[in-house]
Structures are given as C-alpha cells and as structure tokens.
Symmetry: C2
Subunit: 326 residues, 2 copies
C-alpha cells in the first residue's frame, strides 16, 4: 500500500485528538484541578486541535465518585464549566468503556449536552457490548468511535471478523489502539492494510492511539497517518498511563496544516504539565520497554516504577517477568 501524501503537503482529513486529561487521569484517578483541565481546553483551542477528550463516562455503580475526580464521570455541569459560554471551536469527546458505563442513563441527548463525541473502548470480546453503546449514542446524535484495544494481542482472523462487524455499525471512526506499546512500524503497516479494507468498504475513518513503551508512539502515529489514519491521538508532554502516549508537541511540530500551532502547547507544558512531574509519574522507562517487547499489559511495570523500594532494579524486574509472568 502506498503512503498518502508527502512531508510538505498536508491532509485535509487529519484530525488531531487530545487525550491528555483522559489518559493522564489513569495515573491520578482523575484528580486534576479544574484550572488545569481548562488550560488544556484553552490550549487545544489556541493550537487548532480538533478534539479534546475530557474524561470518561464511568458507571457510578462500579466506581464511587468519592474515589475519583470529576473527569472520571464527566457530568454535564463539569463539562460546561470547562468549556465556558463562548463559541466552541474544539469538539469535546468522552470515553465509555464497554461494560463499565451506564450509557443509557448517563449520556444525555446530544441536543442537551456540550459533548460532541463518544468513544467506546472495547477489547475484542466486548465488541457486542460496544455495538450496543454505539447504537445508543448515534441515536442520541453524537459522533462516535470504537477503540479496539490491545490489537497487538489479537489474532488476524479474529481482527478481520471484528472489523467486519464494526464496519456494519453507524460508528464514524475505527481506532487502532496499541495498548501495550508493542507494535513496530511494520506491524502498523500490516494492520493498516486490514483496517483500510474495512474503512473503505464501509466508509469509515481510521484512528491511531499509541503508547510509548518502546519509544515508538510518535513514529507509529506518523506511520499510521502515512498509511491512511486520519484521527491522531496525542497528549501534552506525552502524559498518559505508564510510558505515556504520543507527545502532542512532536506531532504538532510535524503537521504542516497552518491551522495547527505549536507555541500554545509549549506554554501549557511550561505552566501546567512540567509542574506535574513531581506529582505524577509517566514516560519511558526500562520496565515499560520490557512489557512492550513482550506484548503484555504494563501493570507490572507500573507497580515497579511507582514502588518506593530503593533497591529495585531493572535486572530483577526482567528476571521476574521472564520467570513468573511469561
């Protein structure tokens, strides 16, 4: 498959998608100050970013609001406080995890909400549940995506079947999600062939959400874009669980469309994201590299990195990974 575009052109179909608060919230249980969330929103607007994912629509039956910040639930009032009264130039997205959201009650009709898009995150066995959410939110008037998680751990035949089922829904965008940060550029190239077949048959767009375990989040985002993905996820400073995500500043420095602007993002890094570094841990580190290389969930690496044990070392982590977990 030939690559789309060159380094000097830009693609009208590209949409830059910020998920700083949503993916970053996985580190601090969404306890962000409203100020910071508003700063990210204002920055998205100033930088020309197309979408901002402000958090989750999590079930309050499963997750107690006393244990999480507002962005875990994204009540309408919270969203409106962040976006304010002025004309909205950045579309607002929320994520709904298949099986962990009361979408029927908690997601209002689009006409009553400041939210524009609902992204449904699902592992492959949750596709039927995801489709039910997609039907609900499309009926309510939202844009929608299905974010097919941990695609590096899915068999080809099953992936093709899942995409075929997803293609038949009303969903707007199908996301390739490298949850474990395991994919190499050649994997992206191959997966994009499969995703493109379905996207072209059913007139869907393709998105890419990467993790930085092997320092490939940015490279893979560019590779997916070159192969036809148009929705590109990134976060300020790469903020996100574990090794973090594709850094927005790298992506913005690359994109040639003059509507995008890097400087507001640098200002937000200076004022809001760099000061988080004492309080939240994210970014590449050897344990994340190892779980990425072995194509497993980063949770063991997260425990290691967050541990206060001063005697911890990479070699022991590697040995325990090989001896106990593979």
């Amino acid at each position: 498959m030939k690559r789309k575009g060159t380094w000097l052109t830009y693609r009208e179909d590209v949409r830059v998608f910020d998920c700083t608060i949503r993916d970053g919230g996985l580190i601090n249980n969404f306890y962000f100050d409203d100020d910071l969330v508003r700063a990210v929103y204002d920055t998205c607007e100033a930088a020309g970013i197309d979408y901002m994912e402000i958090g989750y629509k999590a079930s309050k039956d499963i997750f107690s609001p006393s244990n999480f910040g507002k962005a875990k639930f994204c009540n309408e009032q919270f969203v409106r406080e962040i976006v304010g009264d002025r004309e909205k130039r950045v579309k607002i997205s929320v994520m709904a995890d298949a099986g962990r959201t009361n979408y029927k009650e908690d997601i209002l009709n689009k006409s009553e909400s400041a939210i524009d898009m609902v992204r449904v995150a699902a592992y492959i066995h949750q596709i039927p549940a995801a489709i039910d959410i997609i039907k609900d939110v499309k009926d309510k008037g939202y844009e929608s995506t299905i974010n097919l998680m941990s695609v590096s751990a899915v068999k080809e035949k099953e992936l093709e079947e899942a995409l075929e089922v997803i293609g038949k829904t009303d969903v707007d965008v199908i996301y390739l999600v490298d949850s474990f940060g395991s994919l190499y550029s050649e994997d992206i190239e191959n997966l994009m062939i499969t995703f493109n077949q379905v996207a072209q048959s059913y007139n869907k767009k393709i998105g890419i959400h990467s993790h930085n375990n092997q320092q490939l989040a940015y490279a893979n985002t560019l590779e997916a874009m070159m192969r036809g993905a148009s929705y590109l996820d990134a976060t300020f400073g790469g903020l996100g669980r574990g090794a973090g995500n594709c850094p927005m500043e790298l992506l913005m420095g690359f994109l040639k469309n003059p509507k995008y602007s890097l400087r507001p993002i640098l200002k937000c890094l200076d004022d809001y994201i760099v000061p988080l570094k004492g309080k939240m841990k994210w970014g590449t580190d050897v344990p994340y590299m190892l779980t990425g290389q072995y194509n497993i969930h980063p949770k063991l690496a997260i425990s290691f990195v967050e541990s206060e044990d001063r005697n911890k070392n990479y070699t022991e982590f590697y040995d325990s990974l090989l001896n106990e977990n593979l």
Copy 2:
C-alpha cells in the same frame, strides 16, 4: 525498495555497535572512571555486541590532555587496560574527527594495537581530509568507516557526489549520521536508496547513527536496518550528547539473533548508567525536539538544558530560536 527480512528472521550481516563511551564522553569531556569503561566493555562481551567504540583519537595539539579524560585520546595503554589480556571477542573502535586528529603519529600499525577499527567522522566538506585518513588507517591494517555527519543538512546532488567519491576508497562501511535528530522514517527510506546504490556498486556496508531529538532514534535505526543498513549504533540507556542516541536495550530487545542478550545490558544500566543520572544530563527534552524539527545543531538546546536558570521555559526557548536563530 523492498525491506530486507521480517520480524522473525535475523540478518547475518547485522553488527551491533556500541558507542556509549564515545558519544557519552561528549557530555562529560570523557571523564569516565576506568571501572565504568571496563564495565561497558565486559557488558558488550556478555551481550554479544560486535563492536565497542572506546573513544576518540583526538589531536593533543588541539585538545589539551589536562582538560579531558583518557577516552578522548585512547592511548594504546588505556585501551589495553580496558580490554585486559583475555581473548578479545568485541572489536574495539576509535573515532577520528577529520581535521582534529594526528592520525599519522597517533594511530599505530594494527599489529601493534588492540584497536580493530577506525571510524572517521566528517562533514561533507571534509571528505578529502577523511579520505586521507582512510588511506592511512587501511594501510596500517584497520577496518574503517566514514561517518558522514549531519546528512539531513546536505543537498541530494552533493550527497550523491560525496558518496561516489567515498565509494572509490578502501573504506569498509559508510555511515548515515543523523547528527541533528531531524530525519523522519521516510527520509531514512529515501536516503537508504541513495546509500544502497553506492554500497552495491562498490561493495560497501552501510551503517546508521541516530539521535533521539524527536524520539525517532530507535524507529529510524530499525527503518535503516530494514532498508539494508547492517552496522547499527546504539548506547546504553541512550547515553549521548543532547537527546542521546538509540538506546541499546531497545535494539537488543528487538534483534532476533540468539547471539545477542539483553540481560547483561540491564545489569550495566542498574550498576553504572542509572547512577550517572545525577551527574550527566542526556535524553529527550523539548529544546532538543525543537532543534531536531528545525534541522539545526543541538548546541543551543544543550545550553538551555544545562543552564541552572530556574526561570527558563520552553516557550522562551522556542521564541528565541525562531527570532534569533532561524
């Protein structure tokens, strides 16, 4: 041009090339303890690494030995103290900068030396000087490379001419060096077409040396390998000037040849490289990203990152870069 090999095969022609001490020495004027240099050497041996670059052959007329550690000059005695008396399984390389080395005096005949390879670093205008060094060191019996620096800033026509001239020498390997960390995977793909033409005509091998300004050092190293490069530079923990280099641990986790082993590298990171982090600064940061994006030398970014000014911020650096330096 088709890629070589797949993710499950391995290429017999691949040579892993460590330059931890040589590139890392640019940060601390080569003031490494002998213990650390020896640990890197022992680790290279245990990990199956093919070459270790132990430092420079710098001119003592230009650089005073009182201002630099031993690895800046790599006297024979220093090299022998590091490699010891046992059978040598890792080839030893030194780098000679065109115009800054007294190669005729300071490089012994191979038969009198523990060094196996001399790599000649040259900007494109220094090719004639580099060729003179190549002739000298080949006559003395060494393997040799020409490392063509800052290739991202060289015009295509001039690059083709330079490669043609280099092809006619006795040099063994021609290196593509992304000094500014500016190249994208598509640049690598295109440059490799040019490098391959010369390499095939003149029976040369190709090497890749990348910098991590845009978090693409590893991705680009893999891309170059897939396109036919066989000499792959990397450093432990990515240690190297500015944003650093392709991290060895990432590369070793990828390569499938069973002669390579990751664990010894993790042990060396634990024991020697992680403890350097308080004393030496390297690794990705926004200023390096910016100089990479703008395809300029990282020296301004290095000054910024090393400055103790607590009020420094990314936005000001960006503004000064655009206003004063581009």
